[in-house]
């Protein structure tokens, strides 16, 4: 279970990246985080893997609480979460294979097992032929798929996917979604932030709609606004 209680995040002198967030996500849920760019989706997700700690309030993830957590415990927490980072966070001068293997190496799995598992994962995201390519030379869509494979490697109890289809075409996006759905069916919680309303339009999952660092009340159905405005993005 993941719980946010009165969580506020201030980044330096820019206050209110998140404002008084209260949330609960149950084990096994598939949760969608929606909202315009800059509304705080990534910030919300970073709190879960404790890349940042809340300025005030408490985040509880499984048995760990942001209120009192040691560096060692944070490591343990992170090893139990699979994250598809919005900016991938691949290690540039490692091969695709090594990047995907990394969480498994950290967990201390045996070599043979890792090799087999990584092959399966890479096949799943259709990158087996690129397994020896350096991560820095991948196309962005390929990077994203490597990041997805890595996040699923350890069979985590929750997968966090921050905009996992931003660099993928429609077909690939749909495949990523169905991959996440399959993982979810096996009992893993999935939290996915996305802009791609088209993609998730017909899904039945719980939606959290954010704007300006706040969670909008209720389980809003998305309606893409059609007003034509001259400026871009998150102005109300």
């Amino acid at each position: 279970m993941i719980q946010f209680r009165q969580v506020t995040v201030n980044y330096g002198y820019v206050p209110g990246a998140l404002k008084d967030i209260n949330l609960q996500m149950h084990d096994g849920d598939f949760t969608l985080i929606l909202g315009p760019t800059g509304s705080g989706k990534s910030t919300l997700l970073r709190l879960i893997y404790m890349d940042i700690l809340p300025s005030s309030g408490v985040v509880t993830v499984d048995k760990w609480s942001s209120f009192r957590i040691s560096p060692r415990q944070i490591n343990r927490l992170r090893r139990n979460i699979g994250v598809v980072f919005q900016d991938f966070k691949l290690i540039d001068n490692m091969s695709v294979f090594d990047n995907v293997a990394l969480p498994l190496v950290i967990e201390g799995y045996r070599r043979k097992y890792i090799r087999k598992l990584v092959h399966v994962l890479l096949d799943e995201v259709n990158l087996l032929q690129s397994k020896d390519q350096r991560a820095s030379t991948l196309s962005l869509g390929e990077k994203q798929r490597v990041a997805i494979a890595r996040a699923m490697a350890k069979n985590p109890f929750v997968v966090i996917a921050d905009e996992p289809t931003g660099n993928l075409d429609r077909e690939a996006s749909k495949n990523v979604l169905s991959l996440l759905e399959r993982i979810n069916r096996n009992g893993t919680s999935v939290i996915m932030a996305t802009h791609d309303y088209e993609l998730i339009k017909e899904t039945p999952y719980k939606r959290i709609y954010m704007e300006n660092g706040e969670v909008l009340p209720g389980d809003r159905t998305i309606n893409i606004p059609n007003k034509r405005i001259n400026i871009l993005a998150n102005k109300e």
């Binding site: 893997y49 490591n75 992170r78 691949l90 290690i91 540039d92 001068n93 990394l102 969480p103 950290i106």
Partner: protein
């Protein structure tokens, strides 16, 4: 698997990130070479100065009235001194020759009789050739029956002693500071090369990697760079030795020291590479939270 990962990471880092690797190896090589070379130079210099000191002779003049048996007794007394390296009896004739040498005048030309006293020329063991012991030696020997006076050139020896002492103190001083300075230079370099890889460290951390796993490749890398740096340094030093031995007869270096050199520079290189990278990575590993 962690083991293989660490090894693979280490060697691929060594190969792919040549700029920092070469920089680190060079720094370690230079620092070690300078350190050892200056140590040797100051050692050789100190040695030479001490050698100069030991060129100074102590003269034990006997009473002109001393009998032959008294001379024998004195000689055996002196021979019992463990601090004496060499002892030479100077007869009246030898003394006249020395007089001639010192004053440019044949004493026998002036006088019919040789008035010079019989004496012993004493060369003390190196480590006793300092003014304190000389003073002690003087009083001890002068108390022997038949000895008139013990004489040595204290003005010169004291001056030389001062220079030698200054060299020794300055040498130790400089070497201690140099050890610190070189250590700092190497730290700087390794810290910078880790700094250049901080993104990779950040990613490892956010995947929940333990400190040891993150550090190990860097520590190993540091140790290997230290090894290579130390190795190159030994080669430089041995070449320098060969060159110097070829140029100055003055400085003699035993080839047996070469083994010591290899062991010294390489083990020191490994040690410093190892420890420094271990602590340098720490700085970047220890921050848990993102601060971009």
């Amino acid at each position: 698997m962690k083991f293989f990962f660490v090894i693979k990471q280490t060697f691929s880092n060594l190969w792919r990130e040549r700029t920092p690797v070469v920089a680190t190896i060079l720094t370690i090589c230079i620092a070690l070479t300078i350190l050892v070379a200056l140590f040797e130079i100051s050692f050789v210099l100190y040695d030479q100065l001490r050698d100069l000191e030991s060129n100074m002779m102590v003269e034990v003049y006997l009473d002109p009235s001393a009998t032959d048996s008294q001379v024998k007794v004195i000689q055996s007394e002196l021979e019992r001194y463990p601090t004496i390296e060499r002892l030479r009896f100077v007869s009246k004739e030898t003394a006249a020759a020395i007089f001639n040498e010192e004053f440019g005048e044949n004493i026998m030309d002036i006088l019919d009789e040789n008035p010079l006293p019989v004496s012993f020329e004493v060369r003390l063991l190196r480590e006793f050739n300092h003014s304190e012991y000389l003073a002690l030696f003087k009083t001890q020997v002068e108390s022997l029956k038949g000895v008139d006076e013990v004489h040595y050139r204290h003005a010169l020896i004291e001056k030389l002693e001062k220079v030698t002492e200054a060299v020794a103190i300055a040498g130790i001083f400089v070497l201690i500071i140099l050890v610190f300075a070189m250590n700092l230079l190497i730290r700087n370099t390794i810290k910078l090369s880790v700094y250049a890889k901080r993104r990779q460290i950040d990613i490892m951390k956010i995947l929940g990697a333990g400190n040891l796993l993150i550090r190990m490749p860097y520590i190993l890398e540091g140790a290997i760079e230290g090894f290579i740096g130390g190795f190159l340094s030994a080669i430089c030093l041995i070449f320098a030795h060969k060159f110097i031995a070829g140029s100055f007869a003055l400085v003699e270096i035993g080839t047996s020291t070469y083994k010591v050199l290899w062991v010294l520079t390489i083990s020191f290189g490994i040690l410093i590479g190892f420890l420094t990278s271990a602590t340098s990575v720490g700085r970047f590993v220890n921050k848990i939270f993102a601060k971009k």
